[in-house]
Amino acid sequence: MSPTPLAWYLGLSAVLFTVGVLGVLVRRNVIIIFMAIEIMLNAVNLAFVAFARSLGSMDGQVMVFFVMTVAAAEAAVGLAIILAIFRSRGTTNADELVSLKW
Amino acid sequence: MAVDVAIAAAKALFIVLLVVQVMGLGVFFERKVSALIQDRIGANRAAIFGFAGLGLVNTLVADPIKFLLKEDVVPASSDRLLHSLAPILSLVPVLVTFAVVPFGDVLEVGGRVVNLQAAELSIGILYVLAMVSLGVYGVVLAGWASNSRWSLLGGIRGSAQMISYEIAMGLALIGIVLTYNTLDLQEMARAQGTLLWGWLPAWGILYQPIGFLIFMTAGIAESKRIPFDLPESESELVSGYFTEYSGPKHLMFMMSDFVEVVLVAALVTTLFFGGWQVPYLARDGFHLPGGAMLALPSWGVAILEITSFAVKVILFTWLQVVIRWTLPRFRYDQLMRLGWQGLLPLALLNVLVSALLVLLVGGA
C-alpha cells in the first residue's frame, strides 16, 4: 500500500509547518496566531504518522496521541487567558498588548 | 474490482433509502401521534382529489413541496457563505454516520459473501462519535450567520448542550465496548446472537441496562428534541438557531432533526437490542431451544434480518416521538446540570462497574 513516497508526506508537512510559522509572524489577532500554532502542531503530527508508517513502529502514532492531548490542554488554557485579557484590556490585537515591553 | 464498487454503492444506496423512508415515517408519526396524544385528528387538511391517505398526503407530499417552493430568505447583513453552509454541516455528518450501521448479517450473492454494512471500519463506534461531534458546527454557524440575537442565543445554547451530552454518550459507549471487546458495530450485532442459558438471546440491554438509559438520554439531548429542545424552543426563541432560515434550508434542518432521531434509534437497536438479530435465527435457519430446526435459504434469512432491523428502528423512532409529546421541556440550567452532574458521574460509574464485571466474569 501507499505508493506515494514518504518524502512527499514530509514535504507536505514542511509546507504546512511554514504556513503556520507565517501565520504566527504576520497576523496580529492572537486567536489567529493560536490557530496557526495548531496548524504547526498538525504538520508535525503528519510527519510523525508518516515515519510511523515507514518504520513500521506504532510509537509514532502514540506520539501523535500525546501531541493531540497536549494541544487540547494548551488550547483550553490559552483561550481562557485570551478571554481574561480581553476582559481587562478590551483588545485581542497583539500590537496593543505591550504593557510588559520596556 | 468493479463488482466490489457496485456492491458497496448498492449497500450505501440501500441504507440511505431505508433511512429516508424511516425519516418520512418519523415525520408522519410526529404529526399523527402528537395529534392522538393531544386528542385531535392531526394533519388532514391536504388531499389529492379527496384522498387524504390518513394524513400521509399532507405530511409526505404537501409539506416537502411547500418547503421546496418557498423563497430562500437570507438576512441582509449576514455572512452568506456561512448561512448556506450551516444546513449542509448539520445534515451531512448525520447521514454519513449510517455507513457503519449494520442492517443484516451476510448475503450470499453469486458465490460472494457480502457483509450487510455499508463500510466495514474496525473503529466503527468511534466514527459515529466523530460524525456526531461534527454536527455541532451546523448549530453554531447557523446561530452566528443569522446575525440576530435570538438565533445566536439558540446557537450557543444548542452547541453547548451538544458538546456536554457528547461526553456522556461516549462514556456510555465505553461500557458496551468493554462488554463486547470490539469497536465494530457488525461484530457487536453478531455477538448478540448467542443464547444465555440456552434460551435467552444475549442482547446488550441485559449486559448494560444503565448504559442504555444513559445513551438514550444523551442521544435525545444530542438531537435537541424535547425534553431537551431549549435551543429550538418553539414557544420561547421562535425557532432558536434556525429562525432566519426558510425554504429548502429550513427543510434541511428539519430533515437533520429527524435523521438524528432515526440515527439514535438505529444505534440503540444495534448496541442494546441485537440490531438485525431475530431471536433463534442463525445463518441457515431457525434453531429453536429444545432442538427444533427450520432451514431457510440465505436470502430468506437476510430478508428476515433486514425486516427485524427496520421494525426495531421504527419502534424506537416512535418511542422518541411519544417522549417528545409527553414530557415538558427542561430549563437550561437543569439541562446542563443533568448532563454534567447527573449523566457524567453515572456513566463513569457504569464504566467502572462494567470493567470490574468483565474482569471477574468475562464479557460477552
Binding site: S2, T4, P5, L6, A7, L10, G11, L12, A14, V15, L16, T18, V19, G20, V21, L25, V26, R28, I31, I32, M35, A36, E38, I39, N42, N45, L46, V49, A50, A52, R53, L55, G56, M58, Q61, V62, V64, F65, M68, V70, A71, A72, A73, A76, L79, I82, L83, T92, D95 | D79, L85, I123, L126, Y127, A130, S133, Y137, V140, L141, I156
Partner: protein, 161 residues
C-alpha cells in the same frame, strides 16, 4: 493512495491552511482550520493510522475548533481592518518562510527511508496503539492525565470574573 489523489488533497490542504492565516474574518479562519484538520485525517487513513485519524476528527475538529469558535463568538470578533503588521514584516516573514521550507524539505528528503515492505498485522488499530501506550509509554500517559486535570482547573479559574 495514488499519487494523483495525494496531489489533489495536498493542494486542498495547503489552500485551507493558507486560508486560516490569510482571511480577515476569524470565523472563516476557523472553518479553514476545520477543513485542514479533516483533510489531514484523510492522510492519516492513507498512512494506516485509522485510530489516530478518527481521534483527530473527534478531538481536534470536533472539540478544539469548536472551542475556538465559541471564544470568537463570545468576543464578537468581526474582522480586522488592518490584518497584518506592516509590509516590511510581511516581506521579511515570507522570505524567512521560503528559506525554512527549502531547509526542511531538503533535510526531510534525505531522512526519507524506503517504506516498510510488511507491516505487523493490526498496525494502526486500537489494540496496537493501546499496547504501546500502556506498556512503554505508561509514565507519559499518567502525566498527560495530570496535565489535563491541571488544564481543566486552570481554564475554569481563569475564566471566572
Amino acid at each position: 493512495m495514488s499519487e494523483l489523489l495525494f496531489l489533489v488533497l495536498a493542494v486542498l490542504t495547503v489552500t485551507a491552511a493558507t486560508s486560516v492565516v490569510a482571511v480577515a474574518n476569524p470565523v472563516r479562519s476557523a472553518l479553514g482550520l476545520v477543513a485542514t484538520l479533516f483533510l489531514l485525517s484523510i492522510f492519516f487513513v492513507a498512512l494506516d493510522a485509522q485510530l489516530v485519524a478518527v481521534l483527530q476528527v473527534i478531538v481536534y475538529a470536533g472539540a478544539i475548533v469548536v472551542l475556538f469558535l465559541f471564544v470568537i463568538m463570545l468576543l464578537n470578533l468581526q474582522g480586522e481592518r488592518r490584518v497584518t503588521g506592516g509590509m516590511g514584516l510581511v516581506a521579511a516573514a515570507t522570505a524567512g518562510a521560503l528559506a525554512l521550507t527549502a531547509f526542511l524539505v531538503t533535510l526531510l528528503a534525505r531522512a526519507a527511508t524506503a517504506p516498510a515492505a510488511t507491516l505487523p498485522p493490526g498496525f494502526g488499530e486500537t489494540r496496537a496503539l493501546a499496547e504501546r501506550l500502556f506498556t512503554a509509554h505508561l509514565l507519559a500517559f499518567e502525566l498527560t492525565s495530570l496535565l489535563l486535570l491541571v488544564a481543566v482547573v486552570g481554564a475554569v479559574a481563569l475564566s471566572r470574573r
